[in-house]
Amino acid sequence: MNPTKIGGHEYFHKVVDCQWACPAHTPVPEYIRLIAAGRYSDAYMINWRSNVFPGILGRVCDRPCEPACRRGRVDSEPVAICRLKRVAADLKEDIRDRLPRPAMSNGKRIACVGAGPASLTVARDLSVLGYQVTVFDNGAAPGGMMRSQIPKFRLPDEVIDEECAYIVGLGVETRYNQWVGSLRDLLAEGWDAVFVGTGAPRGRDAPIPGRQEAAKHIHIGIDWLANVAFGHTTTISRRVIVLGGGNTAMDCCRSARRLGGEDVKVIVRSGFEEMKASPWEKEEAIHEGIPILNMRVPKEFRHDNGKLTGVLFEIVRAEYDAKGRRSLIPTGEPDEFHECDEVLVAIGQENAFPWIEKDIGLEFDKWDMPVLNEKTLQSTLPKVFFGGDAALGPKNIITAAAQGHEAAISIDLFCRGKKLDDRLPPEFNLVSQKMGIHEWSYDNQVSEEERKKVPVKSLEKTLKDIKLELEMGFDPFMACAEAERCLNCDVQTVFSGKLCIECDACVDICPTECITFTGNGEEDDLRTRLKVPAKNRDQALYVSDALKTSRVMVKDENVCLHCGMCAERCPTGAWDMQKFFLQCAEAGAEAKRT
């Protein structure tokens, strides 16, 4: 193998699994260390720059970082990254004086359609550069689906209010209660650019027999959640069936439990493991006494003169073809009938752009999705950009924020007449953490504590009040203990072959046996010849230049604990622990740097 190129940002960024997995590339270990140090406001600001909504995401993020967390590969559970983020938001001081000031106007006007996470991110990034950003939304307050679809017991309004206010306070003009009915008309108003962040507003229906007749008792999940969120719906019948296996289904069933549903169950087509809902959301639903029945395809809504009596299900099993595609095959068992009074249909969301005229030059593909450059998020109408669920299909809040950043960069470049591909790489640096012979400027002692559970209020109380937040968040002591579980993967093991005397001290001390000195070879061969064969191919091998004995140092990054023992044991300083800090470029960064 060729020596690993550690000069750029790519290699070491990938070692920081959480930051690599985060769509917005939040510097996770950095803010976790700040939390351990009690510097909550600093931790919050690092988050605020990267993901805009730390308090919101600290409660309801999809947390792609946690399955990626290295700790999960050496311990039973990953670090509770998401809940630590909430700690930063909960325990911070007043940070308003740390927020950027609105810049002097540059005379450009940007319209953002929708006031969800993507639009608000664009608004934040651009208003600090002097753009006059106007946000349109048909609701009465900003937040989009964060406010309308996520139940209050998971995400209270105060948190949304606070974090949206930080953005609006930057001089963003808001036009609430205003439905944008025509992109043509909007464009005619002479905006310098338009950003579409209208989400995926249409819930998919279940067009099976009985749907029309029993319509009064069958609701589309996201619409029902919005009605609950805004207080239009305050009760539900005693027996409820939720169809679907995503996070919306989990929100529906748990909301139903709180509005009077006593016999609430989730019934899903797929297997339990394949359900789209995050594992922790399934756990919470089960914890609240909601059974999840899988491998059942709804066949018919049964009713008595329009009064729903129940749903008939066909029982299936999953079969996978050679390409891994799943098909659901009926098992031949008799259909199953489940009685109920109301049904919530949460089987997916779709994009809908009824307000975008088809003849204004904005192309749509065969799935009725806008044709976009996936990197710049520009549509075929150069002035119009997309982001969030409206861009590439429904994902999650953190993806929306990440796309908002990218769209803001594009819009800024576009408005300044620059090429949209002229994007700056992330800013990063790599700094030695050595303070003395056994002293590092990070706590390199690896905690052996188990993951801390977030304290919750009693079910008895929380099932009675849909607005009562279930989780209480970590207190400072729990937060510190949980933060200490972080392995500091951003503190990189940097090897300098010129200094190495090949004494094997690092090989012998490494607690997870990641380091090997051996003859070089092709990657496939080398992976088998390490002290412990490197079977996780998603994780890189760090290969040095040829050393004095013509061997190379090979380190399998997979389960490195970043404990720094290799560097402590190295007599010549050939290993050093260096902190890698990376932040994605912001809109306007290249104008600032040049």
């Binding site: 012979i437 056994h438 005397i501 004494c503 001290a505 046996e513 412990v532 604990l561 404990c563």
Partner: protein, 351 residues
């Protein structure tokens, strides 16, 4: 030196041996030796050898004397029996222990000061008596704990860190062991585990006195340009006579070598040593040839490493003394003290 204990977190795919242990289970306390000390590599080689041999840690007794090297048994096999004896007296204490309980695997760890100076008599007698043990001398040529004075194995003409030249003739423990009748004699280098680990495995499964001299650079006091026991010097002057593969009786033998290049030695327990010859004329079963070869090469400034001598019909102290098969602690009071009648009959026989 590291102050932190190794974290206990274990990778899920950590290899386990036939008795269910991971390599980590053969480790001991965290080493307090200097960073880069060759001794730590030897400890790691012992860990690997015991892991590979599926040794149950509680079946091992590790004994040592005094010195940097003699501290190391604390850093491996934390679940084994240990005895840190007085300076140079490891071979004597080990001899006593071995006589009392022949069922354990005896590993003596010593250094050049402990073995070649204060304990040279003990070393000599353990070898000549044929104590069934593995004797590892972690040889760095200096007294590290007292800040780097020459030890008795330092080569004549080599320089100390301060530039002082050594005028005394060195003691070659390998040559002594050969002369004194050790039946398994090897030399290796802490910086070459590929050579060292199989040598330790062969020694642990050898019946009789097995001696391994391991050159182990002292990074703090003896790893400079004028040293003959530095990483660089040893790598440049290493004359390996063979490479050995240690093969347990249960292992399948798959290697094939050109005729004449391989020497196969079967030990009493059925384990096999495959010697891949590097010096074609070298015969590791010829004690006198080995002694001559060692002297010749030493005169040329080379360091002979590898399995230097092995006796195919090795024997040990228990056979010489015709001792009882069972460990003494399992014999029982009646057997150990057969009563006054038996004593009387013995006394009568002597009248």
């Amino acid at each position: 030196m590291t102050y932190l204990a190794k974290p206990k977190l274990l990778r899920a795919d950590a290899p386990r041996n036939a008795v269910g242990y991971t390599r980590r289970d053969y480790e001991g306390a965290i080493s307090t030796l200097c960073a880069g000390c060759g001794h730590d590599s030897i400890s790691a080689a012992v860990v690997q050898a015991c892991f590979d041999l599926d040794v149950e840690p509680h079946r091992v007794a590790k004994l040592s004397g005094i010195g940097c090297s003699s501290k190391t048994p604390d850093y491996f096999l934390g679940a084994s029996h240990g005895f840190n004896t007085t300076h140079g007296r490891m071979p004597s204490v080990l001899t006593g222990a071995a006589l009392a309980n022949r069922d354990l695997i005896y590993l003596g760890v010593s250094g050049d000061g402990d073995s070649a100076s204060i304990g040279i008599a003990q070393f000599a007698h353990a070898m000549r008596r044929g104590v069934n043990m593995t004797y590892i001398c972690e040889n760095n040529g200096v007294y590290g704990l007292t800040k780097g004075q020459f030890s008795a194995t330092a080569d004549k003409g080599s320089k100390s860190k301060r530039g002082v030249v050594n005028n005394d003739t060195p003691i070659d423990l390998v040559a002594l062991a050969l002369q004194l009748g050790a039946s398994y004699v090897a030399r290796s280098f802490s910086g070459d585990k590929e050579q060292l680990i199989p040598l330790i495995k062969g020694a642990l499964r050898h019946r009789g006195p097995a001696f391994i001299d391991v050159i182990s650079p002292c990074v703090t006091f003896n790893n400079h340009a004028g040293s003959t026991k530095s990483y660089d010097y040893v790598r440049e002057h290493n004359d390996a006579v063979n490479r050995i593969d240690f093969i347990l009786p249960r292992d399948k033998i798959e290697t094939s070598y050109p005729p004449g290049s391989l020497r196969r030695i079967v030990q009493h327990d059925g384990s096999i040593l495959h010697l891949r010859k590097l010096e074609t004329e070298y015969d590791p079963t010829d004690r006198i040839g080995a002694m001559n070869y060692l002297q010749e090469r030493h005169a040329l400034g080379e360091i002979v490493t590898g399995l230097i001598f092995v006796s195919e019909d090795a024997d040990d102290l228990h056979r010489h003394l015709n001792t009882v098969e069972k460990p003494l602690n399992l014999l029982g009071d009646a057997y150990l003290c057969p009563g006054s009648q038996v004593l009387q009959s013995i006394n009568d026989a002597l009248r």
